[in-house]
């Protein structure tokens, strides 16, 4: 014996005192507001609680058996850590919002704060983790025994009686420590400063210790890593450990899968990673520090294992103890103590954290909900039950640790360390589907989670836990070899005849398959979620999205009742603080659903969400179904309405919705703008309130057509907007309610006024062009015809001339020549007039103001001869106005009209022409009146046509009046003829545009 037992016990005692001191210091710092755990390093190191005594001692044993195979449980968490920024951060965020304190609380809260789930998870955790706690105690006990029994190195450690077993006292110290630093505050959602400081501290201790032993073995006992491996290589049974065998890959893969789950869902991992997290940012650091920590602590595992195997004869002692026995045989007492303290650190940190996690779970998620359900117990009637809650939690901690110890005393010694750890891993992995599904799949239901978890854990029990117990001699192992009731396909290691897998792979496969399968299929199959489930699912899955204000409580409660309730669970001090905090944030303290929600979360932090809901429902009503659903629907509806309104408001057309009676329900922004009326004012009004009755009538008739036809229709509608007539193309269609009845009519009207106008203009232009084309054709025909007749005449007389010349009849020659002259003169006149006609339209002289009387007098130069010849009296009325225009052209008007009147005088005995002016509607009408042959009313239009001579026998070319018409039109005027018929005389009237109008036109 190189170390005296009292010395060891003293060291253990001092070490535990050190832990108390560290915890006390951390608490003090926290109270002073200088938390040492609010630090990414502390957070990352505390996650190192993953590495327990199992890592410290057991991994060496596993490395000795499987080589690299031991590493799977560290590679898994390393890979998982890559996803922490998604998964862990989400869990942390959710847990902070809902004040979730345990993994049971998390799962239960996600699936509608279900008591069934919280208690099931708690039971699984207790059953699954208890052996793990036993394992730690066993490790401490074994390591003590190894040291104390040296130099007697037995492969099997002797078991001593309870009261002489120092592990028992260490367990008691752990109880004391856990209660002291784990149950100080009632609110379990608050961080345990002292405890986490100790866990982080112990992470450093165990890493340091293991590295020290590793360095000693590699460089103290051997000449470095290569020395160990080269030596090991010589031995075939060790060399085989350098490689993976076929079967190793499957085990390796499953170890990765299990450890990925376990590193997050073991209760103690959840405790340090989620509950004790103070800042989400710390996760970023932990993502690489934790894998680095595992890398360092496993760096020397293989060398120590090989070193031990090389040093000790095969099978002479358990490789699990190499960490201690190698320094022991080298007589390095200091290193033995260091190694022992390292193992102790690994064990205590795990036990303390796991016990707090399970203790909280048992009290909040199992015992309290049951107590609340038992009416006889009247727990909800007590005045202050915060002490009761803490008491339950403390008892739970004592029970868990002592049960762990008992477990170890009864069955623990038959296990290899590693199998127990893997059992717990597989149990923790059962939480995976419900949690991960709950985080990302809204349709995962409570029944699905219950089914998956229970099925998975039953398979776990049957294929992993029970065989292990049987092997420990608790009951007959016959069911392992023959199957339950002798049924072969029920063999726990070859379920359904699946052979060739080791127990871990086999059990994990079946349990997780059944778990996921039941969770997914039952969730899909049942489909139904209660309001609270739906609400929780949404707040969990969408925790990073917009804040949901789903409310599950009615606002009908008395604040005094709530206050009393809070005091019972939180104590007076915290209740007052809570209420004043709430008042400060919300502005006022009134019985609102939000206050109820806030209070529920506060209570949940102390007693778990399942109980909190039960407790709160004693003073208020749950807004069952209607609450969340109504709020959600209302919100969705509002969003949808806003979306629709935005689309409507940005449309360039006017859009409106009327009921079947023609009352407006909704109009868009364009409508508001156009009719200067707000949409609020418009509601309830009809078309008659906005439009003139005749317009509104058309609108309503069109609406009725749509309603009657029950189909969309298009109309062209006109309306008076801002004083102008506008034309709209309106699409109107009926709107149906959910049951298919028409309840309104929607219209979209687009202003097509401009389009309409240009269409009309185009048509006008086409008509005009067609008229001109016809005129041109007629012109060409007539010109060629009229020009031809003089030519024919000329030709004829040229023939006569020729004949007369040959016959020498001189008298006739002169006559023929006269005729030829006459014909060519006629041609000349015709051509000159045509030339004249074509000139009009291109006003060649500047416009001026001219006295109409002057024009008439001037015209006598040209037409005076004809008047005298026919003895026509020209009567020029006095008071003739002044006119404006191109003087020579205006003269042409007068000349032509007088000449025309003279031409068609007929046999009038007293021929007379009157030139005058009259006024009509502020318009000056100038006229030339005669008492000649007159014109039948049907020809009144034709007279102005080119070559349209009414009487082909009269002289003239038929161009004169056409010229007049063109000149008048060029001057912006009109010309027409008034005559009562044949023999009644005729009056040619014309107007000219004012000087102003003509000048404007020129400018354009």
């Amino acid at each position: 014996m190189i170390l005296q037992s009292y010395l060891i016990i003293l060291i253990v005692f001092l070490y535990l005192c050190l832990l108390f001191a560290v915890a006390q210091y951390a608490e003090k710092r926290a109270n002073a507001g200088k938390s040492i755990i609010n630090n990414p390093w502390t957070y990352s190191l505390s996650i190192g609680v993953y590495c327990t005594a199992w890592t410290f001692y057991g991994s060496v044993g596993r490395a000795a058996a499987t080589g690299l195979g031991f590493l799977g449980v560290y590679i898994g968490p390393t890979l998982m850590a890559l996803l922490w920024w998604f998964v862990l951060r989400k869990i942390v965020r959710i847990s902070k919002i809902h004040r979730i304190t345990t993994i049971a609380d998390f799962i239960s809260s996600r699936y509608g704060k279900s008591f069934a789930l919280s208690s099931l998870v708690t039971l699984v955790a207790v059953v699954g983790i208890m052996p793990y706690i036993s394992l730690q105690l066993k490790a401490v006990s074994s390591s003590l025994n190894v040291i104390l029994q040296y130099p007697h190195l037995a492969p099997d450690l002797q078991v001593v009686s309870t009261f002489t077993d120092s592990a028992f006292y260490i367990a008691l110290m752990m109880v004391a420590f856990t209660i002291m630093f784990g149950t100080r505050r009632l609110d379990a959602s608050e961080q345990h400063e002292g405890l986490i400081a100790v866990v982080a501290f112990e992470s450093i201790i165990k890493l340091f210790a293991f590295l020290a032993v590793g360095l000693f073995v590699v460089y103290g006992m051997y000449g470095g890593m290569d020395d160990i491996y080269v030596k090991a290589r010589m031995l075939p049974e060790m060399k085989s450990l350098f490689y993976f065998k076929e079967a190793d890959y499957t085990t390796w893969m499953w170890l990765i899968v299990l450890s990925m789950m376990a590193s997050m869902f073991l209760p103690r991992q959840f405790q340090v990673m989620v509950v004790e997290n103070l800042d989400e940012k710390h996760i970023k650091q932990a993502m690489w520090v934790f894998p680095l920590y595992m890398l360092l602590i496993t760096l020397f595992t293989l060398p120590i294992a090989f070193g031990g195997m090389l040093r000790f004869a095969q099978g002479s002692l358990s490789p699990d103890t190499f960490v201690l026995t190698l320094p022991l045989v080298e007589q390095n007492s200091l290193l033995v103590v260091v190694a022992f303290i390292g193992g102790l650190a690994a064990a205590t940190s795990m036990v303390v954290v796991a016990t707090i996690a399970i203790g909280t779970m048992v009290s909040n998620d199992l015992v309290l909900p049951i107590l609340f359900k038992i009416r006889a117990f009247q727990i909800s009637e007590r005045d202050d039950i915060s002490h009761l809650i803490l008491g339950i939690r403390r008892v739970a901690i004592i029970v868990v640790i002592l049960l762990g110890y008992l477990n170890f005393r009864l069955i623990g010694s038959s296990y290899a360390l590693v199998s127990i750890g893997l059992l717990s891993f597989a149990a923790a992995a059962q939480f995976g589907p419900a949690i991960l599904g709950g985080l990302y799949w809204k349709d995962g239901t409570r029944t699905g989670a219950l089914a998956g978890l229970s099925a998975g854990i039953l398979v776990w029990l049957y294929t992993m836990m029970l065989p292990a117990l049987a092997k420990s001699g608790w009951f007959s192992i016959s069911f392992i070899e023959e199957g339950l009731f002798g049924i072969a396909i029920l063999k726990p290691y070859q379920l359904m005849g699946l052979e060739g897998l080791n127990w871990l792979v086999h059990g994990s496969f079946w349990s997780l398959l059944v778990n996921v399968g039941c969770y997914v299929s039952v969730s899909i199959w049942t489909g139904h979620q209660s309001a609270i489930e739906r609400h929780q699912a949404a707040t969990f899955v969408d925790v990073f999205k917009r804040k949901k204000k789903g409310v599950l409580w009615h606002d009908r409660f008395v604040i005094g009742d709530l206050q009393k309730l809070l005091i019972r669970f939180l104590g007076i001090e915290r209740t007052e603080q809570f209420l004043s905090d709430y008042e400060r944030i919300q502005g006022e303290l009134e019985s609102s659903p939000e206050l109820a929600d806030y209070a529920e979360k506060m209570i949940a932090g102390a007693i778990g969400s399942a109980s909190a809901r039960v407790v709160l429902s004693s003073v208020m009503e749950e807004a069952v179904d209607a609450g969340a659903t109504y709020m959600e629907i209302k919100k969705a509806l509002r969003e949808s309405e806003e979306r629709l309104q935005t689309i409507m408001d940005n449309a360039p057309s006017i859009i409106y919705l009327k009921d079947t009676q023609g009352h407006y329900l909704l109009v868009n922004q364009e409508y508001e703008r156009l009719y200067h009326i707000s949409r609020e004012e418009m509601v309830g009004k009809t078309d008659y309130d906005v439009h003139a009755p005749e317009i509104a009538k058309v609108f309503q008739e069109n609406d009725q057509l749509v309603l009657a036809g029950n189909e969309p229709l298009q109309f062209e509608e006109t309306a008076l907007d801002d004083g102008n007539m506008h034309t709209y193309l309106s699409v109107k269609f009926p709107i149906y309610d959910v049951s298919g009845n028409i309840y309104g009519i929607c219209g979209i009207s687009t202003d097509i006024t401009k389009r309409k106008k240009s269409e009309q203009e185009r048509e006008l232009l086409i008509t005009k062009l067609e008229g001109q084309k016809e005129e041109l054709e007629r012109f060409t025909y007539t010109v060629s015809h009229d020009l031809k007749s003089p030519v024919v005449t000329v030709r004829g007389f040229l023939g006569f001339l020729e004949r007369d010349l040959s016959e020498g009849r001189k008298d006739r020659i002169d006559k023929s020549i006269q005729r030829i002259y006459a014909a060519t003169d006629k041609m000349n006149t015709l051509l000159e007039e045509l030339l004249e006609l074509s000139r009009i339209g291109r006003l060649s002289n500047p416009s001026e103001t001219v006295s109409f009387r002057d024009l008439v007098e001037e015209s006598l130069n040209a037409v005076g001869g004809r008047l005298e010849e026919k003895n026509i009296h020209l009567n020029v009325l006095p008071d003739l106005p002044e006119i404006y225009g191109d003087r020579p052209r205006l003269l042409e008007i007068v000349e032509n009209l007088i000449d025309n009147a003279a031409k068609y005088m007929g046999d009038q005995p007293k021929p007379c022409i009157e030139v005058g002016a009259r006024y009509h509607n502020e318009e000056i009408i100038l006229y030339v009146q005669d008492n000649g042959i007159g014109i039948e009313s049907e020809y009144h239009e034709n007279v102005f046509g080119l070559f349209d001579k009414l009487d082909p026998n009269t002289e003239g070319t038929g161009i004169g009046l056409a010229v007049v018409k063109r000149v008048v039109e060029v001057h912006g005027g009109r010309i027409w003829v008034e005559s009562k018929g044949m023999g009644q005389g005729s009056t040619f009237c014309f107007t000219l545009a004012s000087q102003q109008a003509q000048q404007n036109k020129e400018l354009q």
């Binding site: 590679i75 993976f244 890959y249 990765i256 970023k284 760096l299 293989l302 999205k545």
Partner: protein, 77 residues
């Protein structure tokens, strides 16, 4: 794309690369050879080296990964 989102994407890629590397059949490449690197069996060296590399990468990315990224990636699901 903000840095936080980019980093999260890189993490997912690394995750899948890790899953592939640390499993059959990639590992069998190292397990089938009789070589030693610096006196360490090839399989051990490869796994530890890859592990260290992965951790180093994560450290590099998450440390430089932006103080801006904490509250920006709020719209993941």
């Amino acid at each position: 794309m903000n840095k936080d989102l980019a980093n999260r994407k890189i993490m997912v890629i690394l995750f899948f690369l890790g899953i592939v590397f640390f499993n059959y059949p990639i590992l069998s490449i190292f397990s089938s050879k009789d070589e030693m690197i610096f006196g360490i069996p090839l399989l051990y060296a490869a796994v530890f080296f890859a592990w260290g590399l992965l951790t180093g990468l994560v450290a590099l990315i998450m440390r430089t990964g932006g103080k801006d990224g904490i509250n920006t990636g709020e719209n993941e699901t």
